[in-house]
Structures are given as structure tokens and as C-alpha cells.
């Protein structure tokens, strides 16, 4: 099928990851909120994890696409 699912997965997690990361930075000084997640800025950390995951997905889709092209045409 024409769509490599890694593109949408990678894109979605990159966007969500970036959003969480920014939100984490913006609310980093809100101690009341941090108390809930055991004093850890979990939005920042997890946003970063999602962003890296998303980018890796995109990268692997890119590699697959460029490896496929010369073969097909």
C-alpha cells in the first residue's frame, strides 16, 4: 500500500513531543503541579522522549524511502 505508516507516526509523536516539551519548560516553575508527579518535570522529560521517538520514526521512513527509489525506477 502506498503509505509508509512511519511517516504519520513519526510526525504525530514529534508534534506531541514538542508540545509537551514546551509545556514542560513553560510550567517548570509551577511547584504545585510538579508535586503531583513526584517533583519531576515529567512533561519536559517525556516530551523529549516522544520527540526523539518521533524523529527516529521519520528518519527510518526517510531511509526506507530513499533505499526504495533507485530500485524501483
Amino acid at each position: 500500500m502506498g503509505l509508509d505508516i512511519r511517516w504519520p507516526i513519526g510526525l504525530m509523536f514529534s508534534i506531541i513531543g514538542a508540545l509537551l516539551l514546551i509545556h514542560g519548560v513553560a510550567t517548570g516553575s509551577d511547584t504545585e503541579m510538579l508535586k503531583r508527579s513526584l517533583g519531576m518535570n515529567v512533561n519536559l522529560v517525556w516530551g523529549l522522549v516522544l520527540l526523539v521517538f518521533g524523529l527516529l520514526m521519520l528518519l527510518s521512513a526517510k531511509i526506507a524511502a530513499s533505499a526504495k527509489k533507485p530500485k524501483e525506477k
Binding site: 500500500m1 502506498g2 503509505l3 505508516i5 504519520p8 507516526i9 510526525l11 504525530m12 509523536f13 508534534i15 506531541i16 508540545l19 509537551l20 509545556h23 514542560g24 510550567t27 503541579m33 510538579l34 503531583r36 508527579s37 513526584l38 519531576m40 515529567v42 512533561n43 517525556w46 516530551g47 522522549v49 516522544l50 521517538f53
Partner: protein, 652 residues
Amino acid sequence: MTAIQLGTIDYAIMLIYVAFVIGIGWTLRRYMKTSSDFLTSGRSIPAWVTGLAFLSANLGALELVGMAASGAKYGIATSHFYWVGAIPAMIFLAVFMMPFYYGSKARSVPEYLKMRFDERVRCLNSLTFAIMTVFASGISMNALAKLLHQLLGWDYNLSLWICSAVVLAYVLKGGLTSAIYTEVLQFFMIVLGFAPVVYLGFKDVGGWTALTGKLSQVAHDPAALALNSKSFAPDAWTSAWKPLLGGPTNNPMGVDVFAMVFGLGFVLSFGYWCTNFLVVQRAMAAKNMSAARRTPLIAALPKMLFPALVILPGMLAVALASGGKDGYRLPPKIISEKTYAKAIPAIQEASLLRLGPDEALQQVNKAIGRKDSGDLKLKRDKIAAIITESTSQPLSKELIRSRLQDAVAGNDYDGVILSLVTKYCPSGLLGLALTALLASFMSGMAGNVTAFNTVWTYDLYQAYFARNKSDDHYLWMGRAITVVGILLSIACAYFARNYDNAMDVIQLVFGFVNAPLFATFLLGMFWARTTGTGAFLGLLGGTATSGIFHALTIASGNLPGAKGGYIALAHTFPSEMAQNFWLATFAFISCFVLTTGISLATRRTKTNEELKGLVYSMTPKIKDEGEMWLLRPAVLGVILLAACVVLNFIFW
């Protein structure tokens, strides 16, 4: 549970997710040219995608919500549903059964049955399957809408229709392919959305040693948390096999080891994973035989590790509640509006009359009424406290409501996972976890709908209503039935909401139908002598056996009636789970014996030539020597099985 507040970022994450799943359907729409593209993906998908979709389609409401609930109720023994009740069957499907499903070119499991046996067997299987998937999807949607209502205060109707509309939008556009692709996205969403919650809970409890310590206290006195009325050995919640080997009275599940290994591990598990079209369809959509066979194996690896994500939260919740850490308690059973309407005046009256604790409790219980309250138990001292406070100064209705909810002794196990989400997730992560929850429900619903539309179009409509129509006609029908299937699911959701008991009975009957199924497939695939008449009557006989077995037995603590034992009481099981596992065992054996006997007594209708590709002994062995040895299904299967055994030993 009080409604929680969502921030802009939480809604943003949900919207991004919805936009992406609909976008995937939209992108795929131009590839949907034939009915086979729409209903069977035109057999074109790589193995890692079908593998993750295989897992995700099964990851409905049951998995996230139900497994955490069982984790709280039974502890680590719940992982038997994975390590005993799933992995071996998934490996068996990959190594032994997939060659026939895929190689026969059948478009569905019922169609395989028609090729192997005859029209009767297919008709029986496709009808029960079609009805079952619609109900399953409805039950899950009802659960979702209820949760969203309780948790976020969203309108029940609105959440039900919006979620269904999203699923409809992407399934209608991109068919099975779009369901499979979004299932992969949902798989990652679920894992990445819940992992931080589990991590935070784990850290809060204080790690594994602290967890086992807390849970051994719980095992000594589970009644303190209203988990169980008995007292167990300290390892009852933290080891998988030892309490089980101690017999049904020594483990909170109330199950013996034979029922667990044979009833769940063989009959029920193989019956589900190897014959249920919902999951098998994903493997059938793979691009070639070796991808089809690798599909269940790729799914088996994450499946094996899933207990850490879905069962552990339940155990963490129990450990947290046991220490009463930060005032955490297991979510109490939800009081219905009807009950509130009766209980609040009773409280007000009791406080006016200045009743003592016992009389007040009696008064409230009387007002609620036995029938409506179900097994709602109120704590005496909490009720007394409400009365005392209300006597000195009348409390508002709202306050009485929340205090009453707090006074409920029983647990709402289905709320366990969400209670952890709301405890630990700040705005942001909260949106992610809730999106993961939405994703799990949507993947379950899409899975059901795509299996339903294929079985309807190919096995019922094409077989019995419109035999020789153009492919365009079937493509049109596939789309139309997708809409109908979703509408039927919604209808079932309302039905489930209003008739809880009727739903239990329906699910029970499905259990009767499913229990003997694996015997039919096993004999059909591995014994050429099995005849259509043997399979058909054996299946009916097996189902009848389940019905009779249920009518004659009961689980201790239940009253004869819908829960069984309504004809006579031949045996009382220590728990419903044990009753279930034994029922399946009996149904399987009866179907096996009947099919064998009747097959020997009837004439074969299919020649050896016709059975080629359908039966083990008539089919040339698949040559996978060309593949790298590590990627061969049999080798992969053995490795996975070994890993599963190791896991069982670690948590022995």
C-alpha cells in the same frame, strides 16, 4: 470519582491524535478500488505493521481497564492471561495454522471453514461471529462513554457518537488498511501514553521490594481493602505459580492449576487466538506467507511484556491504597443517580431524628433497597460521621453526595487505572494518557467493525443474498455495512447501558459458542478424516454441553439463576473464573469426541485433492530454508516460547 479539569494542551493532544487517524484514512482512500482492497487490504502489508495491529486490535477496553482491575484483585497471577493464555496460542497460530489460513486464499475464517467442511459450518460460525463482534464493540463503547462521563463530565451520548464518528470516518475511507495502520499508531500511543504513569506509580511505591512488602501485608488481610474475604500466604499477590499450586483456596482467583493450564491455557486461549477472525484477519492481510506467519510472532514479543504496562498499575494501586499513602484509596463503586435520590433524603431524615450509627445505617440501607443497591455496602463509621455532622449543621445535598460516595466499601476496579492517571499526571501528560485510553477503545472498535464488515459481505451477503454481483457491488456493500455495523454497535452500547443483566447473559451465551470452537479447527486442520457433518454436529454438541454444564454448576457465593445452577447443583466451584475454565474444558472435550465419532460414522465428502492446502497431511511442507534461519517461524517460535518460560520462572 470527581470530574477532573483538562487544560488546553490536553485537548490539543487529543485533537492532534484524532486529526492523524482521520488523516490516515483520508490518505488511503485513493487505494480503495476493489472490495478486496477495502475488506482484506489486498494482502499488501509488511509483517511488523500487521504484527502490531494484531496486538492492538485485541487491545480494546478489556485490556487496559480490565487487566489493571484484575491486577488489583488477583495480583501477578493475572499475567497467566498473557504467559499461559496467549503466547503459546499465538506461536501455534504462526507456526502451524497460518499456512492453511493464508495458503487457502480464504478471505475470512468462516470462508476457510466452508472450504474445509461445508456451508453449514460456515453459516454457524459467521452468524455467531457477526452478532458477537457487534455486541463486543457495543459493550466496549458503552464502557468508554461511561468512563468519559464519570471522569471528565462529558456527556454520555456525545462521547459515544463522537468516538464512533471518528472510527467511522477512517474505516469508511481506508477500510481494513486504515484500521490496521491506525492500530499501529494506537499501539505506540497506548504504550507511550501509559508508560510514564506506571513509572511514576512504581517510583511512588518505592520499587519492587517495597511493592512486594506492601502486597504481602495486603495478602494477609485483603478484607481491609475489600479485595477478598479470606487471608492468603504473603506471596499470593506477588508470585504467579506458587499460590496456584496451593489449590483454589490458596489463591485469590480461586482456580486450580489444571483449569488454569488446560481450560485457559489450551481451550480458551487457542480458541480465541487461533480462530477469532478479529485477530486472524490482521495476519491474513500480510503481504506474503512468511509475513503472515511472522505476524503473530511479532505480536507475541510486546504481548509478553504487556503485564508490566497493564497489570502492574493494578498492583501498584493496591499497594498505595494499603499504606493509605497521601489519602489514596481504590476508587469506590459508583453510586447510581437512582440510589442517590433515595439515600440523600434518608440521611437527612436520620440526622433530623438523631439516629445512632446502627439505626442510621439500617435506615439508609432500607431506603436504597436491596434490589437497586446491588452489592453496595456502606461503611458504618462513615455514615455515622455524616449523620453527626449533619445533625449539628445540615449539610448541602452536594456534600452528602460526595460523602456518601466516600462511604462505599466496595471497589470500582475498572476505575483503578484512571485513578492513577489522575493522581500522577499533570496537565499535558494527562492529555496524553487520556488519548491513549481513547486510542485503545477506538482500535478495539475499528477491529470489530472491520472484521464484521468482511464476514457480512463475503460470508453472509455474497453467500446467501447476492451471489454473482460485480465487485463494485460488494465494495459498495462493504462500505454500507461499515456504517450499519457502527450504528448497530451504538445501539448495543445503549442496550448494554440499560440492561446490564441482559448483557451478562448474552456474553455468557457467546462463551458457550466459543468454548468448543478450537476442537473443530484442530480436528479439521490435522485430521483429513473429519467430515462436515461431524464438525457441524460436534460444534452444536459442544455448545449444548456448555449450556448444560452451566445449568448444573455454580460458583460459590452466587445464587442459582443467570449465574448458573438453575436446573440442579451438581458441583460448586470456588470462583466464577474456575467455573468458566472448567466449562470450556468440558465443551472442548465433548466437541472433540462428538466430531471424531460422527466423522468416523459418516462418509467423507471431500477428496484428498480437494483438501490440499487445507489439511496438514495433504499439504506440501512450506520451504522456508531460503530465509535467514533466525527469521524462520519455527525458530522464532521456539525462542519466544523459551523467553515466556523464563518469565514464568522469574515470577514463579
